[in-house]
Amino acid sequence: MSRWDDEVDFVIVGTGAGGATAARVLSEAGFSLALVEEGRYLKPEDRPRELVDAMAMAVRGMATLATDSVVPMPLLQGKCVGGSTAINSGIVWRMPEDVRAEWASRWGLTGLVGEAMDDAYATIEDELGVGPTEAPIAGGNNLLMARAATQLGLPGKVIQRNARGCEGNGRCLQGCPVGARQSMEVSYVPRAIERGARLVTDCHVERVLLERGRAVGVRGLVRDASGSRRIEIGARRGVIVAASAIFSPLLLARSGVRHPLLGERFQAHPGAAIVGRFDEDVCMGFGASQGYEVPMRERGYKLEALSLPPDMLAARLPGAGRDWQTRVGELGRYAQWGGVVRMEALGRVRAGLFDGVSVRYEPTRADLAKVRDALLLVGRMMFAAGAKEIYPGIASMPEIVRSEAELVERMPIELARPDVHLVASHLFGTTCASADPSRGVVDEQLAVRGARDLYVMDASVFPTNLGVNPQHSIMGVVWAASKALAAREHARRAA
């Protein structure tokens, strides 16, 4: 009798951008797979519109997982089949050329970011229907931002998204109710299942099982309606960890993997946003959640329109009581645009007392200067588009600013960290990849050093952050790595 509850060629831990892409490639290459996911599987029709219910189902810790700091920074992640892609806005950017060049020259990752990546991009874009946000579903928040960019002569553009037949429900965060956004739970996960992959949900993988240095399977705790039980799934050819930049290093450490850089080099693209009040209807309730952007790469940030669910928008309006209620009565009149910053700060992830994880990460002065620059520009754009008042969300400024002159005059020369509310949803770097053994927890094939048949395939392998939205880069890198893995395994099988 087998010791395993199930046995496959590869066990993949996590079904987000990384895990699902590995599943797409390896299932098509003929390998049997088990996809093990801590969160649950939610069908489009299961995704509620009401934010508290939607987030309770799909967002890790209700977005309250945060850095350990006197000024904590919330870290947003999905916890369901599809991972963070199931709550994201579907924005697609290819990895910038300068990043590819740096990864090849400084980190020795040519195999991942060379031609193989171009091939991967072409296929993924085709399969996930990547295209520009269509005009009829742009919605007021995006259209106003386009107007502002035109007025100020900024290099704004319509956002490319992986959406097919988007109806402009403005519910990317809650989960697309019609399955238009091609997040992993409606695209690559079902595709792998069609090819025989098995999906195990509600299962927290506690350990990768290593025997004489070789990954032979995983042990997980399933918690579902019928109670909780432990399972073990055997992996004949290997285990792929794709549990995100926060949880992959923790799982590896728990499994006995040791490397000086494990959990180190944590990086992010934190962001902050400004809400503005207009005389005209904006109506965030209709339109693509994010359909317009202004890339300011040379200045280290990117501006994006970001529609909020009504609860978040109301909470973002200043104060409580009389004036606040007056503003909430006109929720259709507000726009929100933000800046996402490519920060230089490096942090670290470790097992911790609270929620099992501790993340240390503090933006540097230079990082905060970029936040200031981005917010100043967003504020100017708001007034250029006709805002009557804006709420900069900067503690050392007036809560309500009514003109561009006031904005410029009252904006502090330097932002202190407690001044500004930062949130991070693009997370990288805690099992860094490098061809140099001293600089990479994983090698250029994304294989874990010091173990056999154990791989990491998610955002944690990124040696640097990008300055653009990362999902497509994660998928491109993982695609290239899993294609190469499939080729090596086929060769091994043939030999």
């Binding site: 508290v52 810790g61 009829p136 399955g179 609860d311």
Partner: protein, 162 residues
């Protein structure tokens, strides 16, 4: 407020009492957008939030309630309980907490405000009164059959289109 929602709340009875006082007070004045009698179940919203929140956040919420109910003393300078204040006065105190110079106080107040808003907008009738959902004039959502990879999603879209 259902019994199960209260049972699910990881709070003491006293804290549940505080929550019932504090959460409705963000929209406690009679001006602008108001919540109708019995329209919003704040404690059910809180239970849903706390049921999925991180351990750190749960601790933060409890601390936030304590700060809020003692605010008449440390912020208002009066030896009175939160419950003895009128609705407008409670809102005013929360308003002052939300712009307090200490980050920690502002942040905990924001956490409670977000929970209150989530409870408020869980009721479909409240959302209808804010103008949030009005379609932009002239914009007609288009529909087409989706060549998505998931059968479930494709079937759903076809059903909706039919």
């Amino acid at each position: 407020m259902t019994a199960t929602a209260i049972e699910g709340l990881p709070l003491t009875r006293l804290e549940v009492f505080w929550a019932g006082l504090v959460l409705p007070s963000f929209a406690g004045s009679g001006a602008g957008f108001t919540v109708r009698e019995g329209e919003v179940d704040y404690l059910a919203g809180l239970a849903r939030f706390m049921g999925a929140a991180s351990e750190k956040a749960k601790l933060g919420i409890r601390l936030a309630f304590l700060l809020a109910v003692t605010a008449p003393v440390w912020l208002g300078g009066r030896l009175r309980g939160f419950s003895s204040l009128g609705a407008e006065e409670r809102s005013e105190l929360l308003d002052r907490m939300s712009r307090h110079r200490v980050f920690f106080v502002r942040e905990l107040c924001l956490l409670l405000k977000l929970i209150a808003c989530m409870a408020i907008f869980r009721a479909p009738s409240t959302r209808e009164r804010t103008g949030y959902d009005r379609a932009t004039p002239g914009a007609t959502p288009h529909r087409r059959k989706l060549p998505v990879l998931s059968h479930a999603a494709a079937e759903l879209t076809e059903e909706r289109a039919a």
